[in-house]
């Protein structure tokens, strides 16, 4: 086995041959390097896309902080090597290594992979392969690292079940310590791999796929999902933290430019709006907020530890944060003269107040983003995002009037029940918004329209629906392209074939593993990169596997059908989701659940979690009374 020293020497000779060699050397401010030999448990955290995208990831930053806080554990990092560097690694048979100490990944006890989106799956296989770790769990031996995964895409873990030893579902801050404790105990007491996984499977929020078996009916649907290990739970319930724990403040400050060079603070977790297409809004319940005082003290600490020029206040719907105006005012008065940009993404149109806009005015922002998603009243009711067009226009006017020259609007096409009339309404709304900008800034006003394609996701009210066909989506995109060919409007959209891939993977079952494996074998990787994505490789992979892609993307699931992810409970019951789907078909909405509880499942199923931290306010109505 190659030593870290030998890897270092190899890097010295080879890094100048690749683009952005700074991706592969670490050495950032606030990097934690612990003595390898003196630390008992070695964890590698992996983001399966390039450094530039992975470094700012907040989820991994939290885990890096949590693990490195423990004396007996260390956490190091690695990212997907770009194609040029991968070639060098493969040519010289150099295994993938960690940035901190250059240890090959195979030498770690635990590998934690974040899977925030599905189009990162082939990269995950590639990283395991580059590390010399058997790709399938069944081929791994006791000496191999345990491979864990978590993140938004793992709420339907089945397509990746053959490759990942265990999944951690939900909030990671507490469960990571339980995972580490078990692996430490296992290492101390010489447990074998199956013994360790057995113990892990008994921890709330951990899913070990090898302890379950599936059966399929002749028509291809899932017929049965059974536990084959007596200790493994029938249903795996996600973890939630009752109160958001103190977040990291020692953010890694990269030595090269990455996608977000900033302090990221999660001001609130969860969302109460219940947009029916929104996966994140369903799986991250309940809504928990941080106090303004806490946020300010985090910013203070993080500024003195990083020197970053930008702060991002993150949440799924930042203007719904109950103290948003106070927060912005305090940040403004405290940091105004410090050349600091405040990014407040994900503002909800109906809760963006004039005060918020005034508070943000003058901070170094490029464009202002709003997400109406749909432009017709009918469709807005379908997706449960009932924001009148007039509201969008009024807010846009206020934004342009405060000096912003550019607004960015997000739309989603292909929603259930969408007609061409709904598509025309999108272009009409865009033109009206730009007209408001022109009243203020004349021809300097611009509008950037971003058109995404709706992909039905597991654990949402639309988990049963059939996705639109490639042809339908292309037709709608062409109409918008034509109608929005207007000076001042710039349009971009996602490649519908990439949306197809997302659809297959996000509602796939265990058989999909073979498709992912075959696609990777055919050279698929970096599927999220437009210039790397190979649609034909995926189609061939389906063909070879004998599975029909349309079965996964374009088929409406039956009311009684067992869904591949039904054993995963993300806090929202199937009953609630099904009822919400029916309401959608009737054009009925269920507004903000902070006003009225619709019994999604969080309160009854997480009573004990809430009781552990009495007095903690969740934004659920009953919580307000507590």
């Amino acid at each position: 086995m190659i030593s870290p020293n030998e890897i270092e020497q190899w890097l010295d000779r080879n890094l100048m041959k690749v683009q952005k060699p700074g991706r592969y050397v670490g050495g950032e401010l606030n990097q934690v390097v612990k003595p390898w030999e003196d630390t008992f448990l070695h964890t590698a955290l992996v983001f399966p896309d390039i450094y530039d995208i992975g470094l700012p990831n907040l989820g991994l930053a939290i885990l890096y902080d949590e693990i490195n806080k423990r004396d007996n554990c260390l956490a190091e990092r690695t990212y997907a090597p770009w194609i040029d560097f991968e070639k060098l690694l493969r040519d010289d048979k150099i295994p993938l290594f960690s940035l901190e100490t250059r240890h090959p990944l195979i030498n770690f006890d635990l590998i934690g992979i974040t899977l925030p989106y599905e189009t990162i799956y082939t990269n995950t296989l590639n990283i395991l392969d580059l590390s010399g770790i058997p790709i399938r769990t069944k081929d791994r031996m006791d000496a191999h690292p345990l491979v864990f995964a978590g993140g938004n895409a793992t709420t339907n873990p089945e397509p990746m079940a053959e490759f990942i030893d265990a999944f951690a579902l939900g909030d990671g801050e507490e469960v990571i310590h339980e995972i580490l404790d078990i692996i430490i105990a296992g290492k101390n007491q010489g447990w074998d791999r199956v013994q360790i996984l057995n113990k892990l499977s008994m921890v709330d929020g951990i899913y070990v796929p090898r302890f379950y078996e599936t059966k399929y009916s002749i028509d291809g649907r899932l017929q049965d999902f059974q536990t084959v290990e007596q200790n493994a739970p029938k249903k795996i319930r996600k973890r939630i933290v009752a109160k958001l724990p103190p977040p990291p403040t020692r953010f890694l400050v990269p030595n090269i430019n990455v996608v977000h060079n900033r302090i990221a603070i999660e001001i609130m977790r969860g969302c109460s709006r219940g947009c029916r297409f929104c996966h994140a809004g369903m799986i991250n319940r309940p809504v928990r907020e941080r106090s303004v005082d806490e946020i300010i003290s985090i910013i203070d600490a993080a500024l003195s530890r990083t020197g970053f020029e930008e702060i991002a206040l993150l949440s799924l719907s930042s203007s719904d944060y109950s103290q948003i105006e106070t927060l912005i005012e305090q940040i403004r008065s405290r940091y105004l003269t410090k050349h600091l940009t405040i990014a407040l993404p994900s503002l909800r149109i109906e809760s963006v107040s004039v005060d918020i806009l005034d508070g943000l005015k003058g901070s170094r922002q490029g464009s202002f983003t709003l997400a109406p998603e749909a432009a017709s009243e009918k469709l807005r009711n379908t997706i449960n995002k009932p924001i009148p067009s007039q509201n969008v226009i009024d807010v846009s006017r206020e934004i342009y009037q405060r000096g912003w020259l550019a607004i960015k609007l997000y739309f989603l096409i292909g929603n259930p029940g969408e007609t061409m009339e709904d598509i025309h309404e999108i272009s009409q709304l865009c033109k009206k918004v730009l007209a408001e900008g022109k009243k203020v800034h004349k021809n300097r006003a611009t509008l950037h329209v971003s058109i995404s394609t709706f992909v039905p996701k597991a654990h949402t009210p639309f988990q049963w629906v059939a996705m639109e066909s490639l042809v339908q989506i292309q037709e709608k995109q062409q109409i918008l392209q034509k109608e929005l060919r207007v000076p001042g409007i710039r349009v971009n959209w996602t490649d519908p074939r990439e949306s197809m891939l997302e659809a297959w993977l996000s509602r796939g079952d265990r058989r999909m593993a073979e498709v992912i494996f075959n696609a990777w074998k055919k050279g698929s990787k970096f599927d999220a990169w437009q210039d790397q994505f190979q649609f034909s490789a995926w189609m061939q992979a389906f063909q070879e596997t004998g599975l029909d892609p349309e079965f996964y993307s374009h088929r409406e699931r039956g009311a009684e059908e067992l869904l591949p992810w039904d054993h995963i409970f993300m806090g929202v019951t199937r009953k609630f989701l099904f009822r919400d789907w029916k309401l959608s078909q009737e054009g009925k909405t269920r507004p903000d659940c902070r006003e009225q509880c619709y019994a999604c499942g969080i309160l009854p199923y997480f009573t004990s979690v809430r009781e552990q931290s009495p007095g903690i306010k969740w934004q659920c109505p009953e919580g307000n009374q507590a």
């Binding site: 010295d12 000779r13 080879n14 890094l15 100048m16 041959k17 952005k20 060699p21 700074g22 050397v25 050495g27 401010l29 400050v253 030595n255 090269i256 430019n257 060079n261 500024l303 003195s304 530890r305 990083t306 020197g307 970053f308 020029e309 410090k338 050349h339 170094r364």
Partner: protein
């Protein structure tokens, strides 16, 4: 107040570009709450100026940067507050006050000196290649699609057979007449990736007096 720092750019930062080095200085000042000056306008930029961009992959014992501050600060405090840059790979070796209206760093530079260390054993005919190079009066090359003559840009070139053998070179670094050491290596028909490059000296034009 305009301050000139002379510093070593050490191994950990050798893959960080000149533009990103600028950000490292800016952030270090921000962490220490030093009153770094910003330009006016919609997109204020920190007032930081560097001399002669160091190619990616090189280390240096003589980098120069000028930073403007809004108010006067004791040099002792500056050095102290910025000392932690050392762990990142910036080691400050000199801190001096420069008149506000002094010419820009880039304009003052005349020559730069490099030591180029082989990563493996140096080929035996290296001395004869150097002799051949020096005997020529012109040596046309192409860089980024543009033809130029590298020979007049190389002021001196020698093989140093000390305990750690290396090639030393003094190159023109004035305005448009700048030679790159890896191009010199390539002109010697050696593989540029087989060497480790260190910039050891930047010489200013005589009039500036530094």
């Amino acid at each position: 107040m305009r301050i000139r720092f002379t510093y070593h750019k050490n191994k950990p930062l050798r893959y960080t570009s000149t533009l990103d080095i600028q950000l490292i200085w800016e952030r270090a000042c921000r962490r220490a709450f030093l009153p770094i000056a910003y330009s006016q306008g919609f997109h204020p930029q920190a007032r930081i100026q560097q001399a002669l961009p160091l190619p990616l992959g090189f280390t240096s014992r003589c980098e120069l940067v000028d930073i403007w501050f809004e108010s006067d600060i004791a040099l002792v405090r500056l050095t102290q507050d910025l000392q932690n840059l050392k762990t990142l790979g910036i080691e400050i070796i000199k801190t001096e006050i420069i008149p506000e209206n002094a010419p820009s760093l880039q304009k003052e530079i005349d020559k730069s000196e490099y030591m180029v260390y082989p990563l493996a054993k140096l080929s035996v005919d290296c001395p004869s290649r150097i002799t051949k190079f020096l005997s020529m009066t012109t040596l046309p090359r192409v860089r980024n699609g543009k033809p130029y003559d590298i020979r007049p840009l190389v002021i001196s070139l020698a093989l140093e057979t000390t305990s750690s053998p290396h090639i030393s070179m003094l190159l023109s670094a004035s305005g448009g007449a700048t030679a790159r050491p890896e191009e010199v290596i390539s002109s010697l028909e050696l593989e540029p990736y087989d060497f480790d490059y260190v910039r050891t000296k930047i010489t200013m034009k005589v009039s500036s007096g530094s």
